[in-house]
Amino acid sequence: MAELRLARRSSSLPLTGLMGVVLLVFVFVASASRDVVSENNKTWRDPAGETRGDSHHQTNSTAHKKAFPVLSFNYEHVKKPFEISLWILLALLMKLGFHIIPGVQNIVPESCLLIGVGLLVGGIIKAIGGEAPVLDTKLFFLYLLPPIILDAGYFLPIRPFTENMGTILVFAVVGTLWNTFFIGGMIFAVCRLEGGQLAGVDPLSCLLFGTIVSAVDPVAVLAVFEEIHINELLHILVFGESLLNDAVTVVLYHLFEEFTHEGTVTVVDAVLGVVCFFVVSLGGILVGAIYGVLGAFTSRFTSHTRVIEPLFVFLYSYMAYLSAEVFHLSGIMSLIACGVVMRPYVEANVSHKSYTTIKYFLKMWSSVSETLIFIFLGVSTVAGPHAWNWTFVIVTVVLCLVSRVLGVIGLTYIINKFRIVKLTKKDQFIVAYGGLRGAIAFSLGFLLTNSKMKNMFLTAIITVIFFTVIVQGMTIRPLVELLAVKKKKESKRSINEEIHTQFLDHLLTGIEDICGHYGHHHWKDKLNRFNKAYVKKWLIAGERSTEPQLISFYNKMEMKQAMMLVESGSAAKLPTIVSSVSMQNIQPRGPARHRAIPSISKSREQEIRKILRANLQKTRQRLRSYSRHDLMIDPFEDNVSEVRFRRQRVEMERRMSHYLTVPANRQETPPVRKVCFESEHKVYTYDDSKSPLGRTAEPDPSPPDAVSLLNESSQRANQSSEHRAKRNDELRAKVPDEKEEQDQLKLSRCLSDPGPNKEEDLS
């Protein structure tokens, strides 16, 4: 029924959605063109104001007295925030629309749709004649890019990243260099050959162009790869490369720009360029790490002001980015380093709510930024001055593809010699195909100062971006399906996997030690030790600084399960319990275990005996009056309610213990109670071979025969202590599980019900 309603809604929704969108677009466009109108308004209002003022000055009562404006219109006042908000609202409504309209999602990735919308809006604005906002470089680099990078860096999966660090670095550095020089060189050659309009292009400009257009863009990669759920290795390879090539891009860009101004290049300059690369990348990482440590340290003291905790994370990271940009270091790498360094300590320190806040704010901001970037890209395309040159553009696009493919194949050949888990041809294809260009290239192109070539370059850059994002973005999903590339593993981490991952770490470190070389695991182990010994003490508040990772994982998991239990309401509404296995299935029961019984202290033993005696004598008296044949009937009838009550509780506790494996109540073992008689004459001997009284009765009695007897006898003993049992049941449910496991089970075996509560009474 709900589906039907939904279907009906969804069919009418696109229509209403479309209308709403069109309306909004018009409102927005109208506001954009209001610049023109508002000017008139201002000039208009001023003379009116002046006359009013004059008239007031002259006399109290004037001839033309203007009525007090009840409702006035002043748009200038709020113009800027209004427009910004309107833009963001438009972007988000677009995003919403794409998710509501069914079927669109599967064919076209969101980024393409957003670019389309941008084109549309830009076209409308241009048609009306207003001034379209362009993707201002400052706006992009200072406001739109950082949230996306921070989101990526904070949630970067560390393990696969560090495991593949070598490969990623080779792709990022060597790959980008190769791309730059190949594209730059070939373009220059083509321009020379072509002549005409292109003849004036000098080699350095070509290389600069090559730099801009060859860098893989993290925003585009994120946007497209997010939707195809590819396996972790490939995702981290392409994504890591897009992040780390920023350093190379920054260095090359500034280098070539300097050179174009200078005009000549010397060897010294080239060497300085290489040095600059190391300074930029390592400096960026250092700046990020410092801010990260500061952030972690600050979060240690925020236990009393939980509300502002997320702000610290955001602000320290943003400062890291800005500080790096001040020195022309790589801002992206700084941001990534800050997030990575800060995260483990901050997460140990902040409250759960703050953690959720941080997560959601980062996701929210990065989502908005991404949407805005793509829309602006579309708008700027329509707006910007273009110089279309068929040869140039087509050659650029072709060269980008070719150089990417060649680069990946060549590098993989070299890398595979050093990798243990080699990259297959399928992997190589995805890595090559996933090299998307995006808004960073566009913004860098915008920064170009040489206006002669600028328009031509910009046009080519935009074409490449459109080609990679639209064509490659749309076709990568079917290709992934076609090539049957491994998808991301959906299941959550289980505790067994965590235990074994840690176990493997230790094991492999040990084996490396045996073989005697400093391998990957050796260094990782050293880093962990250093971390635990020194760093954690400083950066994590309180006791959690000594908590090993396995335990924090376990606690997190328990909390999640507990919350799930709470959210699902009462036990009756628990979601499908997949298995009915519970604690009692694992806990080995009496006969299966042959454990040595530890000795109890003498006084305790005495008291236990006293109680047993008291209890048993009562029942013995009762028992005498029964004949064996009556046993079967009475106990059951009398105890039916109690049994039912107990069974319900068992059920409930089993369900609870399924979710909360903190041993709720170890008492649940005996539905079959191990109370047995030897004979009526031996008072004390509620015995099986494992009683604390030390008297071995029949050694491992014939249990199958005795079972029914045992059952009956337990029922019988129940009667007398029924009243007591009920009270004790309630008590027991609240008894925390502090006692020795042994004592509990033993006593519960020997006494039908009152288990630890006996000890409670005693102690």
Partner: protein, 192 residues
């Protein structure tokens, strides 16, 4: 001449059995010599431990090491499966100190305890709780419907395989065996 020839023959034999290359075996042999003070066998420092033997020779040393070889580009899917099984078998045998084919709760508890032993004072309760949770998970994944009376004996090898399927052991459990000798750690016979 004769001695070196028999040695290469022996190495070839070992290479066939374990899959190492001749250079790697050479390297490992040198390491073995260092660990055993140039004797034939390495003696066990803690001979009385459960499941350990007195001493091991070079061949046994190699056999153990061969469990840690990585898959190569040419390994087929079946070979990868076989490799994974072999590695999981190794891990399973490590846990199963009682040698009865199952990992009981006690044995698993010991594993978790050892894992956390270096991290200062861990409460026994936490260790127990964690081991119980892990065991519960294995049981519920593999034998979803157990009556309250049934008792889950222990993790069998099939269950173990099932539960660690997601980790893809053949890509994780390996170390890099070198072909050339590098300056090695001078740990020698040091105990941890």
């Amino acid at each position: 001449m004769g001695a070196s020839q028999t040695r290469t023959e022996k190495y070839q034999d070992l290479a066939d059995k374990t899959g190492f290359s001749l250079e790697q075996i050479e390297n490992l042999h040198k390491r073995f010599q260092r660990l055993s003070d140039n004797e034939e066998t390495i003696r066990n420092q803690h001979p009385k431990e459960v499941g350990s033997c007195e001493e091991i020779g070079f061949e046994q040393f190699l056999m153990v090491m061969s469990h840690f070889r990585p898959p190569s580009l040419k390994t087929t899917e079946e070979e990868k499966e076989a490799m994974r099984k072999e590695k999981l078998r190794f891990l399973f045998n490590m846990h199963d100190t009682g040698n009865d084919g199952t990992i009981t709760l006690v044995e698993y508890r010991k594993v978790v305890e050892e894992l956390l032993s270096k991290s200062g004072d861990i409460e026994q309760e936490t260790v127990k709780a964690m081991a119980d949770a892990a065991m519960l998970e294995v049981a519920s994944t593999n034998v979803p419907h157990m009556a309250p009376d049934e008792f889950y004996e222990g993790i069998t090898f099939e269950h173990f395989e099932q539960i660690l399927k997601g980790l893809e052991m053949e890509t994780k459990m390996y170390i890099r065996f070198l072909d050339v000798e590098t300056p090695t750690l001078s740990c020698g016979n040091s105990t941890s």
